[in-house]
């Protein structure tokens, strides 16, 4: 992201008597704040909308080839809010001997 304009702005602010000039940088934004007496100034430049949430799967999940049993409730399906969609379900105790090998890369 081009931020040279901010350097010029900082120079102008100093010339104009602004103090406490601070610059906060992140991957997609730079923010400058300063004050002069009761006046307070903020200048923000960004090239991307930043959402306040993120989720990622671990990129270094071990390669597991011998998963025999997971903590599972077979047949249960949920909607986006986690609400179970079925009226009812049942299952016996799922044990190792009752499931087949699952491979995961």
């Amino acid at each position: 992201m081009e931020t040279k304009i901010l350097e010029r702005v900082q120079h102008i602010l100093r010339e104009d008597g602004f103090i406490h000039i601070s610059k906060t940088s992140s991957t997609h934004a730079v923010t400058i704040s300063a004050d002069k007496g009761a006046q307070r100034l903020v200048l923000h430049i960004t090239d991307q909308t930043e959402l306040p949430a993120k989720a990622l799967q671990n990129a270094e999940i071990p390669t597991v080839a011998d998963i025999q049993l997971t903590a599972s409730m077979p047949g249960v399906s949920t909607d986006a809010t986690g609400r179970v969609l079925q009226r009812a379900g049942l299952g016996g105790a799922v044990t190792k001997s009752a499931v087949s090998t699952k491979s995961q890369g």
Binding site: T27, Q57, D66, T70, A71, G82, V94, S97, Q104
Partner: protein, 228 residues
């Protein structure tokens, strides 16, 4: 004696406040539980040899809390203890990145805590939570194994100009928390390396077997249960 446990969830299956009623009964005998109103219920027949681990309590060690507090710098601080929740794979926030990563009926353990971030005067402070998702399984030798499957964060506040800086800090700090958590998990699982198990499942809350009625919250704790 085995225990019959019935869970009544107020808001939904494995979600939010619930009541559990435990009643033990003699081998070959029977038990009954009546009453309760709820959005969903779960009943478990729990053998004597069931072993449970209260996840939130187990993770709330001084060492782990210190690791977390060490991750949070630059005006960020932890505002809660460690909480835990059982979540079905489709409800993990990065599910869409790899839907086939697990079976849809698999549950993962979400370990999470709340945080607060102070911001400069021109932004509102941010409050949110950071989560790590743990996947557990029994391997071919019947040993309990597990790994940190992923992470997430979400928060409110930080506007109008600070979400970028907050995200940059969290994008760096949150993934680095997986390694110490994995080490803790490895060390804990190593303690069970001589044991073999036939069954693995999760129970909402602390996994209490205390006779009678107990109120807990499935969003705040989950118990891992295994049977030899």
């Amino acid at each position: 004696m085995p225990t019959l446990s019935q869970y009544w969830f107020e808001n939904g299956f494995f979600t939010g406040p619930f009541n559990v009623y435990n009643v033990s009964y003699p081998d070959g005998g029977w038990a009954w539980i009546s009453g309760g109103s709820s959005a969903a219920t779960l009943v478990r027949n729990r053998p004597d040899n069931e072993i449970t681990v209260d996840v939130a309590a187990r993770l709330s060690t001084p060492a782990i809390l210190a690791d977390i507090d060490g991750l949070l710098t630059g005006g960020a601080s932890r505002t809660s203890g460690i909480m835990a929740q059982g979540v079905f794979w489709p409800n993990v926030p990065y599910y869409s990145q790899n839907p086939g990563g697990h079976n849809n009926s698999d549950m993962l353990v979400r370990a999470y805590f709340n945080f607060h971030i102070n911001t400069p005067w021109y932004c509102s402070d941010a409050d949110g939570n950071i989560s790590y998702y743990i996947f557990l399984y029994l391997d071919g030798q019947s040993h309990l194994q597990g790994y940190v499957d992923g992470w997430s964060y979400n928060y409110g506040g930080g506007g109008p100009f600070c979400t970028g800086a907050i995200n940059s800090a969290l994008n760096s700090a949150v993934p680095s928390g997986m390694s110490p958590l994995q080490t803790f998990l490895d060390n804990d699982l190593a303690l069970l390396s001589r044991s073999t198990f036939s069954t693995l499942y999760y129970l909402p809350g602390s996994g209490t077997k205390s006779p009678g009625d107990t109120s807990e919250n499935a969003d705040l704790d989950v118990a891992i249960a295994v049977l030899p």
